[in-house]
Symmetry: C2
Subunit: 496 residues, 2 copies
């Protein structure tokens, strides 16, 4: 019985893979067909292959793609040629596939072996989908008034920097960031936030989350205790958890973090995360007395203070309160700020102010994490600050948020005055509408989401015993939407 | 004896701080003088303050700035007013400053207490300054031909996206990145690298360093063993070290990572970091046999493969070798790529391709690290790929690097043929000029730096017994500079 050279050498199933109507070139189809047959052990080490001429004839195609495929397979070591004899599956290749620990999943048809993963991220998982995040309804949090951002200016500044950039903007750069931008940030923080700093202490990061991430890795060992405000900011907890920290919830009242309670619970904590300007989410300002006690404790115990100066730019009833960092005489405060809320979150630019003796260490850790921040946006931002656009935008948005806040507070009093208590409306871009004890704020928030509102339940911010309420953002919600939103909220609450 | 009201109430030293010629407004000078006096305990809780009128008279200034300063100090809680009595330093403030653990440093006048820091970053420190990095001499590493990048196009695309962006580009976004860009990356990787992926598995990161950082945190626990190539890439080691991994050096030969040696040394390692396309720094391509053995081992042992597909786009003697990821049938490979070397490093854009069952976990870890990547550059990059600029730039630079590589290899043969052996010139943007055993390559590199060259000593890439040599980049060095550089290098070697 006559057999073709091809069928002598090659399992017939492989040939089916060649499809002249496919957009994939023939040589690649052949290359993949052979490679897959070998890696899946349908062709085994040492087995003979057809000649390129024979295979081309058999397939009814030109010999060229066959030669290309064979050359690639030879070059990559799947095939080997023996002079005067022919081409073979390389003898060096491994034989049978090893047995797996676990049977392959029939569902995916892919995975078989065990899948061991890091334990720490477990804490980040298993949070149910949060229905209030589903839409972009009224009262969405952490959303600035992007409709007032000067995008034409921004576009022009970016384009100017990108058109004929200096080489230093394009190559690997300083892990601290682009110096002219850091100088502009230092000047701004000195003037506006009474931060004591020079540009050599400023590190440009992608936002407060990365700032915390870097600070945690420089300052904390796995198992280090860290005070966190309760209620507090989940993002900070996540970063600290990923660093292996043990979180110590410290209660918050109308004067901010209860320092005495922190000392009572964990006097030897390695660090504290605190939002002194506008406590997240309750909105208190850390009192002068607490500021001094916190610094005293840190000085005496050797603890680090992570000052998250979130929302400090917007304050409506008095001058902005100066940063804690400016009071620190022991270089214990790592100051964290972000432009995400002042400009727009998609920009991804924030900054750290680092105690001078720790700068080299922060730089080394940053280098190991993501080397350095993108440079062209920093150059454009340096121009944005230098040309006065930043100060102008800050003034404009302060006025806008003041108005939106006023409308929200007024509407809440009018529509829901008997039910909710307004907390933390002196500053920032959100406030808390505290609800009567016993209210199921999560269910309420879900029902509000159904009515097109983004009202975050206050209870989700607690580690300990929660107080019910709704956290309502007004930065990204216009006044008409605010009035309408409060009316809807009233209906939702009345029906609860 | 008559005493002014002021001197009754206030230590005289404070008044000196007011300077009418300073650009700092008077109210801020007063505010800071009082606040500092209080936080430094020169003024103590309960002490009486002068009246605003009395103080203004005494200082010979208008009363207005005094009132402003007092109001701020009252608002922040440093002062308290007792009706009908006067203004006092708030009684709630803490008393004496606590004793410190260690005497304050006389040199800085600042720091006193103990400064406990994380232990892991110690491994990143204490590396001396590397003299070959001082200049931007010929043969600088990891530097593409930025003079050929189409900055006018890039500027136009960026400006177009920034001028009137969609709201979805500005708000908080997907931790995986901007979907249209991820779709473009997935299509590119499928076509050019034979990666098996869809956009839902692609995560946009700032480069291979952040990719490794995220992967390490998802896959590794403190103490997990990880194979690393020896010699290998220091940046990968740093990221793994920061994740608490125990590094297992595995030797490399002309077929790349010696998989059998790795299995012999650490058969139960949790993961391996490998550069299969162009081993860093020696330049070998991982052979087909080793690829299959590596996948077999990972499948059998449950290990993860971090495929760093560094430099894979540039290959000069054959078709690019397909990615390891495409051979993987057990979803064990995390694929890492970057645009830093193809476009420019200051862009900070790279990508991960994640096994589908791990996507949610990677997203959660990324969210805790830096939330999401900047969006406008991703939108501009999506356009850059869609409009064919990326493919065009890749073709152009491939030709440029092919030429530069040819000139470098030829010059090394001509000038230093008897001394150096060229390794790893089949692909990428650098090659290794291996030197005779016993050569002190670090000293040579220092002397080369003195001659204006950036020649990285090969020995710095080893954890174990090093081979001497110089790693020479040609991506960012033009042909005339290459010829001149090799002549200088010859003189440095001859004088050694």
């Amino acid at each position: 019985m006559k057999r073709s050279r091809l069928s002598e050498a090659l399992p017939a199933g492989l040939i089916v893979a060649v499809d002249r109507n496919s957009p994939t070139p023939l040589y690649r189809q052949l290359y993949h067909a052979y490679r897959d047959a070998i890696t899946e052990r349908r062709l085994r080490a040492g087995e003979r292959l057809p000649s390129t001429r024979g295979l081309a004839d058999e397939l009814g195609i030109s010999r060229l793609p066959v030669i290309d495929a064979f050359e690639q397979l030879l070059a990559e070591g799947y095939f080997e040629a023996r002079v005067g004899v022919g081409t073979f599956v390389a003898r060096a290749l491994p034989g049978e596939m090893p047995a797996q620990r676990r049977a392959a999943s029939a569902a995916t048809g892919e995975r078989g072996g065990k899948r061991v993963l890091a334990r720490r991220p477990e804490a980040l998982l298993g949070r149910g989908p949060e229905p209030w995040l589903a839409g972009r309804g009224a009262f969405r949090l952490s959303q600035p008034a992007i409709e007032h951002f000067p995008f034409r200016v921004w576009s022009t500044l970016l384009a100017r920097q990108a058109r004929s950039p200096k080489a230093s903007l394009l190559h690997y750069g300083d892990p601290l960031g682009y110096l002219p931008f850091r100088e502009a940030v230092a000047a701004y923080l000195r003037a506006a936030r009474a931060v004591r700093c020079e540009a050599d202490q400023v590190m440009v990061v992608s936002g407060s989350q990365q700032a915390l991430e870097i600070a945690a890795r420089v300052l904390l060992d796995p198992g280090s205790s860290v005070w966190v405000e309760d209620p507090g900011y989940g993002g900070a907890r996540d970063a600290l958890t990923m660093a292996g920290a043990r979180l110590v919830p410290v209660p918050v009242d109308e004067d901010g973090l209860d320092v005495a309670a922190g000392i009572a619970r964990s006097p030897r904590a390695r660090a504290v995360h605190v939002t002194p300007s506008h406590q997240y989410p309750l909105g208190a300002t850390l009192s002068a007395s607490r500021r001094m006690r916190l610094l005293d404790w840190a000085r005496a115990s050797g603890a680090w203070i992570l000052e998250d100066d979130y929302d400090s730019e917007y304050r409506y009833q008095s001058q902005p309160v100066a940063a804690l960092q400016g009071l620190d005489r022991d270089a214990r405060v790592v100051y964290i700020g972000t432009l995400s809320k002042i400009l727009f979150p998609g920009l991804r630019v924030g900054y750290l102010v680092i105690p001078r003796d720790l700068v080299a260490r922060f730089a080394a850790v940053r280098d190991a994490m993501d080397i350095f921040p993108p440079t062209l946006p920093q150059a454009a931002l340096a121009d944005f600050l230098a040309d006065g656009h930043f100060a102008r935008h800050l003034r404009r948005t302060r006025q806008i948020y003041r108005e939106r806040r006023g409308v929200l507070v007024e509407a809440l009093r009018r529509e829901l005055g008997g039910t909710v208590e307004v907390l933390g409306d002196q500053a920032g871009m959100h406030l808390v509408a505290a609800l009567p004890d016993g209210t199921h704020d999560r269910r309420l928030a879900e029902r509000a989401a159904g009515a097109g509102l983004w009202a975050m339940p206050l209870s989700t911010c607690y580690l300990g015993d929660p107080r019910p309420g709704l956290v309502l953002g007004y930065g990204g919600t216009g006044v008409d939407e605010i009035r309408d939103g409060v009316r809807r909220l009233r209906r939702v609450i009345e029906e609860d």
